[in-house]
Point group: C2
DNA sequence: CGAGCATATATCAAACTCGACATATTCGCT
DNA sequence: AGCGAATATGTCGAGTTTGATATATGCTCG
């Protein structure tokens, strides 16, 4: 199910193969995915810091346990909107959300 | 159409009126809206700096002029995903997006 | 081992967002 | 004022995201 990306590209009419455009888009997508990962990670940390179970958090944000699991797994079908909304529900401020978005998820690549 | 918010609340089962919960939620929603406004504003600035029309930008991101207009108007039906993706398409880095999100939109309130 | 609880994965109908198009409205220019 | 380009607003079908539900896996403690 992680082909949502590819599908989106195709639907958007990008010819995967056109060098410049493709590279550009890759960068965007990569940035987007990294942002999601960072947000997901932050949600998990905050939830645990508050000693909440996924089910409890789900109730707080008007959702279900299964979705919280997907949120924390940064499942491709989870939107940034939901990630951010969840983080805000956990008491994060706008500034803190910004910091999370700027933060590097892993830290391995050099090139 | 700006009742999407209200609808979401209702669907989520929030009784608008419950003091604590209501205030909490308001803060979240306010933060979300402010983030959207900041992002929308940044999109417009960047587009203009590049001397692009909405139609041209639309083409670049595989969308239509009307949607770009909605993006810049921070229309409630525009998701954060789209705002961020558009900003990235305009050459913004992840760090820059973060800065935009942290930035205050207006600057009037004191309390 | 077995029970109880937390988390992960799958499915589905309903709600939502998207791009496209048609149609205003506003802006810049002569 | 009159024209044309740019931008705003409304609607719609198609495709995506969501919350609920069911089920599976994993974990701890007796």
């Amino acid at each position: 199910m992680k082909k949502a990306k590819q599908k989106r590209l195709e639907r958007a009419g990008w010819k995967v193969g056109g060098a410049t455009d493709f590279l550009e888009l890759s960068k965007e997508e990569a940035a987007l995915v990294e942002m999601k990962l960072a947000l997901a990670d932050s949600v998990r940390r905050r939830r645990r810091a508050r000693k909440l179970t996924q089910a409890q958090l789900a109730k707080r944000i008007g959702s279900s346990q299964s979705r919280v699991a997907k949120i924390e797994a940064a499942d491709p079908e989870v939107s940034i909107d939901l990630l951010v909304r969840t983080l805000l529900s956990l008491g994060a401020s706008r500034t803190q959300v910004a910091k999370v978005i700027a933060k590097r998820t892993g830290s391995k690549e050099a090139a």
